[in-house]
């Protein structure tokens, strides 16, 4: 890994408004783990899903970036 890549290894993201510092090697799945393991379990089981600020669903394997905001929303059962 070059020197430039080594700098700024951690990025600041927000999950449900909570600020978290995570490695830029990780994805949305790992951001949820860092936020709350139960939330990840709910998303994996289909009870909840992750969205961006606009409300569009974001995949668990999506890459994170500095300043990213994620939200965990319950699936509405009709």
């Amino acid at each position: 890994m070059n020197e430039k890549a080594k700098t700024g290894e951690r990025i600041k993201i927000h999950v449900n408004g909570k600020a978290l510092w995570v490695s830029r090697a990780f994805s949305v799945r790992h951001a949820l783990l860092a936020y709350d393991e139960d939330s990840l379990a709910e998303v994996v089981s289909g009870e909840a899903y992750v969205t961006d600020a606009k409300g569009d669903e974001v995949g668990l394997d999506g890459a994170l970036f500095d300043g990213m905001s994620l939200f965990v929303r319950d699936v509405e059962i009709e």
Binding site: M1, V22, S23, L33, G62
Partner: protein
Amino acid sequence: MKSERVPSWSKRLRCGSLALAFLLAAVLCVAIGRGLPPLSDAAETGASSPKRAVTVLHVTDFHGSLLSEDVDRASGKPVGGAAVLAAFVEAERESAGGEAILLDGGDMMQGSALSNLTSGAAVIEFMNSLGVDAAAVGNHEFDWGVKVLKERMAQARFPFLCANVFLGEGKQRPDWAAPFVVVQIAGLQVGIIGVITEDTPFLVNPKLIRGLRFDEPSAIVNEIAATLRKEGARLIIVLAHVGGAQEEDGRVVGPIEALASGLRGVDLVLGGHSHTIVAGKVGSIPVMLSGSNGRRIGVVRLEMDAASGQSGVVEQRVRTTFAEEVRPLERIEAIVETFKKEFSGEMERVVVVASERITRSRQESALGNLVCDVMRDAVGADVGFQNSGGIRADLEAGPVTVQEMFKILPFDNTIVTMYLTGEQVKQVLEHGTSESGVVQSSGLRYSYRPEAPPGERIKELALEDGSALVPGQLYLVATNDFMASGGDRYSIFAEGKDIVNTQILLREAVVSWMETLRDGGGELAAPELGRARRLSQAERAVEETVDY
């Protein structure tokens, strides 16, 4: 002849015979990205029309999602699958009067069993049939190494583009990295430049990208765009495996914003990597990200004034690929079915024969030791850690199949590497050792007092060769992505240095190790226990009198 000077080869390939297509591809690939052939006015048709419309279709981060098994969580409706996505592409092409470019934003292969078991070949077959014109190289394209990537590139009837990868510290690109391609559509020469995220070194097994450098892309894009313009390209599209998102107020944020804001002479930026949806602008440049996994398709309709050379967006939207809205394409379903049959046989494949039963446990276990040893071996780490809960079944004596390995390691955990100090390694053990069990490990020997408070549980800690673990020294540690990101409250990994998610699936690493053992004529035996020794009551009484 026009066909010799204008590499709008993907269009012609689709019209030609398969044998001719491969021949042309072989010849034309040499020209791609290594200098744009000179254009004449005659190369652009329809010169009398002042306005030209070009439709660009965009998919990204497909991740091997060939099967129709996904649901849109907000609506509960089925989405995606190769045959459904293909039907959306066909419908959009038709509404564009056939004058559409289809671009893929990278990370197309890795991510599903069907694709992984074929090292991405199933997806390339699909993308060929879909008529992709060009694809960006995503970070996951390196998951099986450059050798396999080159094989997939040879299989593909479209170019993979990557302008910001270089060899060593120099300015030379690897021979497989074409920086751009020019296609002809609606009588216009369209330059497409591919770039990859600068974060790639954090996201790929370092062994697989050794000697490669991933530079900040905007200056590189500007230079190529200027050259392409000079040579006659009328539209420039950047196909970036670079992430971002869109705020409620419409602002585009993240690395894709940083990239687009530094660009000049570019008409459209297509992103990916973050699996998000963006349909907005950065300055005057339209920017689009089209989700992931074949669940969305981006559609941009650009109009260009042939006289002034100015382009503008007349339509920009991201559609969700709801299955109920289309009829899945049968020819695509046939391709998927062929690979599914191959996959079902693959699950029954015997990877090794076990000479004895190898069990798991919350305490130190032979199966845990095996998994940790393989994890460590796969990345050349000093120490390996695996949570006991991630191993879900015992390994039975006799033939071991791929299916059985899915039962033992059902989670698609990847191997993560990082540097921890000896003190931090000890802290991992302090957290992972209690009355309810121990963390599985490799490379270490220690004794422990599970009833002691955290910080006082670990005794006699050494490396496997008996040498002392030095508190201030850095050790290369391998673990799975669950633990590395804080799962089971392992917060200490967040303090690691040079964290890399190698994207090596732990299960695949174990299967590969077993196959190597089998091919060498070996049978699988249980590794010895004795790495984590629980102190007896008598030993504990002695320990309590010793000041460490």
